[in-house]
Subunit: 101 residues, 4 copies
């Protein structure tokens, strides 16, 4: 399945890049296919491994802040894999042009 | 922690109430403190029990649809419980009036 | 249409109830059908009036914090109204029992 | 401000790429800085122009489906621009390595 998540500390400085960096370190080392954007991290894998990764990131953020807001959006399409790139390529093919990705 | 989730089948009829009802049956029987609204279900508990409940609901929906979109928003405030009602009461106290809840 | 929104200041104290209270004052006075929960505010109306309300609330929060995260989820079903209560009642009827609402 | 949005038709086929392609055509032609991913579209601009774009995309989807779910997450940091790329570069600098973006 494909998931998009973000983990935000509430009650810290408005500049949270250093915390996000620590979380991305975990994501990058985990080995799942992922994409990091300015608003969230996308990751593809089975429910268990995706949710374990998000929980690990959430727990790490708890070392930095007493209150955390974590948002997760899951797109689970039975039997499909390779969708992190595949969905984007599919739309580009339909349009017959490259988009900003 | 407090979580708000919704589980939506993609590619079924636009009327999905019967599927949502099956999911709420699971939520109601699980015994965690919850609240059902027109847009999502709120539930309060530990990470493991909340996520297990959401996974069970997600898996049930997979019996009805090949593609599912599940949205989860978590508000995790260290050491706090009873927030499903407490947060609302706190705001009403600050305003000195009852809100529509 | 039906919308669910929350407005969170980033970089303030973890206790944000006083800011949420100011926002709910706006929502309550606006006169649209709404419901306030521990995780978000639901509101029903036309696109323009719902979005204007959310923008007003977002702008108010900007008086309190330099960085704000606003989450909006819209469920727009052509030609339907009265869904804030109607969707919940529909599910309860299907189950033949009252849920925690 | 920075916004991330997705527009999903409910009650159509599970394969919705052709509708998403029509929406991305609008986004690409609008001229705002944007990024298209497998889960959502990011866009940067003023509240009015971002919300007008999302509304136009939402309205287009209404030509294809009677029920639509639109999710919007806004990160509004006073006085900052160029964050679509800037936030990602900032995290990469902190980590001292390139991430998958």
């Amino acid at each position: 399945m494909l998931a998009q998540f973000s983990i935000t500390p509430i009650g810290k400085d408005a500049r949270i890049g250093e915390y996000v960096a620590q979380i991305l370190k975990i994501v990058d080392e985990r080995g799942l296919d992922y994409q990091f954007t300015a608003m969230s991290t996308l990751v593809e894998g089975e429910w268990y491994e995706v949710m374990q990764l998000i929980r690990d990131c959430h727990n790490l953020m708890r070392n930095f802040a007493e209150r955390i807001m974590t948002t997760i959006i899951i797109d689970d399409f039975a039997g499909r894999t390779g969708r992190l790139k595949g969905k984007v390529e599919n739309v580009e093919e339909m349009l017959g042009k490259k988009l900003k990705t």
